[in-house]
Structure formats: C-alpha cells, structure tokens
Amino acid sequence: MMLSRQVIEPNNPAFDQSQQFGLLLSPAVRGGDFVFLSGMAAIDPATGAPAHGTVAAETRQILTNIGELLEAAGSSLAKVVKVNVLIYSMLEYENMNSVFREFFPTDPPARTVCGVKLIGGHKVEIECIALA
C-alpha cells in the first residue's frame, strides 16, 4: 500500500520560510494520517519577518502561527500528537511551559523539550506532528 505524500501550501505566505529566508523546506507535509510541520521560529504573520522577543512572546507567536498552518492543512492544535520544543536555555523552561498550557487546555500532546543552539537569534523553535 502506497501512502500519499503531499506538500501543504500555507494559507499565509509569511509562514513559508523557504520563500522568506531561502530555506530548503516545506512548512508542512502531509504523509499518511499525519501532518508534519517544519520547526517554526517566531515570525510576524503580517510580514514574515522574525519576531524576536521573550521566550513567552516567541512561544505565543509560534503556537499561534502553527495553529493557522495546521488549519490550512485541515488539522488543528487539538489534533497535535507530538511536539518538540527547542529553547536556547532550559532555565527558561517554565516561561515556555506556562504559555504552552494556554494553547492546549485539555489532553495536551506528548512533548519533548530540550535546550539547543538555535539559528537566527531566536529563543524558541517548535516542530510538531498532528493528525490530518
């Protein structure tokens, strides 16, 4: 059985980082029952420019953008099954966690958080897998 693979066109071109920054990636790809999102940093949905801020602010912007991107793929935040959160310092864990809570009020997805060196001066990057 051959499962389908389909690149999802974002409803907002600002989310297409391959267009914005010349990155070789698709923002979202559907494969089988799932939608796989590229790691997203905080970008201004109006302009596509980086939206640098605190860990809380970047987390809020990213999850808002991810919500929109998922909707464009016919999915939603409620259908997210796994999230990987990359932050620049684990000291900021709780600043991310408290905002994260607002976006997944019940039955939150499985999640892995780790501290890494991010590109572009961002403090947070989030990738996720959702049911289509």
Binding site: F34, V81, A110, C114, V116
Partner: protein
C-alpha cells in the same frame, strides 16, 4: 483517532509531579508518541540523577512500563531520539542502549543538548501501537 495514554504509575505523570504540560504518550494512527522520558522513580516521581548508565537504565524501565500499559513494548519502538548532555558519553550510552534493544534496533538519532533539571539522558520514543 487521538487518545491520551495515561501514566501507568503515578510517578510517571510529569504533569502532576512537575507541572510539565504534556501527556505521557499519545496514540494516533497506529503509532504511540511518547514524551521525552527522563530518569524518574516510577513509584515516587522522584528524580533519580545518576550516571548516563543508571539514568538510561531507569528510562528504559520506565518506557517499558509506559509502552506495555498501552499494549506496545520496547521491541516495537520504531524511532528514538537519544539526548545526552555530552557527546563524550556516546559510547557509555551505547553500551546500556544495546541491552534494551538487542535485536533489529529502532531508527535512532543521538544529540548532545541541555536536558531538563540537570539530567544526563533523555529518550524521545515513537513506537508501533
């Protein structure tokens, strides 16, 4: 369908123990996605900091509990992201890792990152349901 897999024992509920806003695991589309597992005592929820070897052992024992409670098992793991605090411990991780997935090991990526609460190892696992 998307279903939360609850902690099989109280200590493995990191939401309850430490306020981590995450489910222990989610079952969806024939797969089980586990949250990053660290060396937690499954009965008490206490953090069991130790060596890479002792932490990895505890993590695999915890994953065994979690996966088997969901009808899966260590043998059914398809992918592992193994995170360690320092790449210099890579071979140490491998020695203990090999004992838990001796045959037809899952796909794996190892990376050196900062892990929560001063842990040395974290395993992020996806398994067939």
């Amino acid at each position: 369908m998307r279903a939360v897999i609850p902690a099989p024992v109280p200590g493995l509920d990191l939401g309850r123990e430490y306020g981590h806003h995450q489910s222990p695991a989610i079952r969806a589309g024939g797969l089980i996605f586990c949250s990053g597992m660290v060396a937690i005592n499954p009965d008490t929820g206490e953090r069991e900091h130790g060596t890479v070897t002792s932490e990895a052992r505890r993590i695999f024992e915890n994953l065994k509990l979690l996966l088997e409670s969901a009808g899966s098992s260590l043998d059914r793991i398809v992918q592992v992201h193994a995170m360690i605090y320092d790449r210099i411990e890579y071979d140490v991780l491998n020695r203990v890792y090999r004992q838990y997935v001796p045959n037809a090991p899952p796909a794996r990526t190892v990376m050196s990152v900062q892990i929560e609460a001063g842990f040395k190892v974290m395993l992020d696992v996806t398994a067939a349901a």
